[in-house]
């Protein structure tokens, strides 16, 4: 009675601690056993034998940001759908099947609208920006030639 009603999250915390302990232990063993002879060349980032030029922390392609944004939208939607999915069966058995189905579909249609919008905007195409610019260039060249 007493010990069985412990919060279920305790094993989760213990597993996380176990992972940290394993990591720190392995790291500690490696510090004890491994050689430590750093040189300037050894500690430069690997760039196929060349001396690295500049830092890697520079501006990055904006496509990754767009992917992140789309992900957040979908992730929040799926988070909101989990409770509905859990009680879905129960409501069907109570006779509210059509009601819950329509509610569910309305929600999913909003989701589908989102993905269709992204698709039409071209945000799901990975190489989109290059294609557009090259097509524009081809079009402007064709105009010049015709003129």
């Amino acid at each position: 009675m007493t010990s069985t009603q412990i919060d279920g999250l305790m094993p989760v915390v213990i597993m996380m601690i176990a992972a940290v302990v394993l990591f720190v232990g392995g790291h500690f063993a490696s510090v004890l056993l491994s050689p430590k002879k750093p040189t300037l060349q050894k500690n430069t980032p690997y760039e196929c034998g060349e001396v690295p030029v500049g830092t890697a922390w520079s501006a990055f392609n904006v496509r990754f940001y767009v992917v992140g944004l789309i992900f957040i939208i979908f992730d929040v939607e799926s988070v909101l759908m989990f409770p509905v999915a859990t009680v879905f069966n129960q409501l069907v058995k109570e006779g509210n099947g059509i009601f819950i189905l329509v509610e569910f579909l309305v929600f999913i249609v909003i989701l589908i609208t989102g993905i269709v919008y992204c698709w039409k905007k071209g945000d799901l195409d990975w190489v989109r920006s290059y294609q557009v610019s090259s097509q524009k260039q081809v079009a402007s060249k064709a105009k010049k030639v015709s003129a």
Binding site: M15, A19, P45, F64, F88, K93, G97, I100
Partner: protein
Amino acid sequence: MNQTIVSYLAQYEFFDFLIKIFGENSLLLTTLIFAIAAGVFVAVAATIGGLGTYAERKISADIQMRLGPNRVGPYGLLQFLADGVKMITKEDVMPNSADKFLFYLAPMLCLVGVFATLAVLPISSGFTLVDLNVGVFYLIAISSLVGLGVFLGGYASNSKWSMLGGMRGASQIISYEIPVTLSVLAITLTAGSMSFGNIVSQQEGFITNWFIFHNPFSFLAFFIYFVGAMAETNRAPFDLPEAESELVSGYHTEYTGMRFGFFALAEYIEVFVVSGVAAALFLGGYNLPVHVSIDILPIQFIQVTILVGKALALYYVIIWVRWTFPRLRVDHLMSICWKYLTPIAIFNLIGSAIWMVAFRGQSIVQILGH
């Protein structure tokens, strides 16, 4: 109330004896049991992860008509221990320009994310560390830590290859999480529960009771889940974050020694976890093919064997796929996820919902049986 290994053991007589020893201090007893169970879990998982590297090399050798590792121990079985010793004794190199704190943190995040998912992996009806009532949800949420670890590993190294690998890894892992989540959602909808114990117990009995054969949509959901899980664990043909022919070694280019080892260990354990979850959600989990009403300890061990067997079969398939298919291109990867898998998963979810309403939650076998 969450079913845990402690509440399972509490039904046996020796537990009363333990309570007598510990007296009123039952919290200590619970913590101790959890700690011992967690220790066993970690040891078994690390062994499975280590043997995973061995299996990978041996199966690839088999597919490519080579011999594979065969020097250390019988059939080279102890190769992973030799590799572990080698990694511990290797020099730990860190680039001078790296972000030192994040560089340390990244492999640990991967390991923590994977080990935390092990806590809800339903290996048997009693020995599961904890059967959370939001188990599936928790699993999807906590496994995102691995993506964070991959990205931070690439970012903190301050190397261009690592940065490219980390960025690819982050975008790939978060993208493929959507189809995986939606296909798991279809199963949640079919089972009407987020707890692993409940989902597995509904699949009790013969193969026809498995959720993969529940309706055509759950059949499809299994394959979406499996492809998505393969991409989420960075397994070939989706191993773009560490594509060795383009990015040297991707996000762990700058990692050496034990820290690289932890990245590898986390990856191999994660493959086992996603195989185990696929087995639990779709392939009947730990259920025996016949109904057993008595609940004794040997039954529990048989259940563990059944689940681990199913998981290892899927593990074999994942390794087999790696050595059979070529790697995808990064734009193909994204279009497969967003233009194929995600729409299919959404319509799969709608189909499951309509099926549940139209046939009042009956499986296809039940309908055909009438």
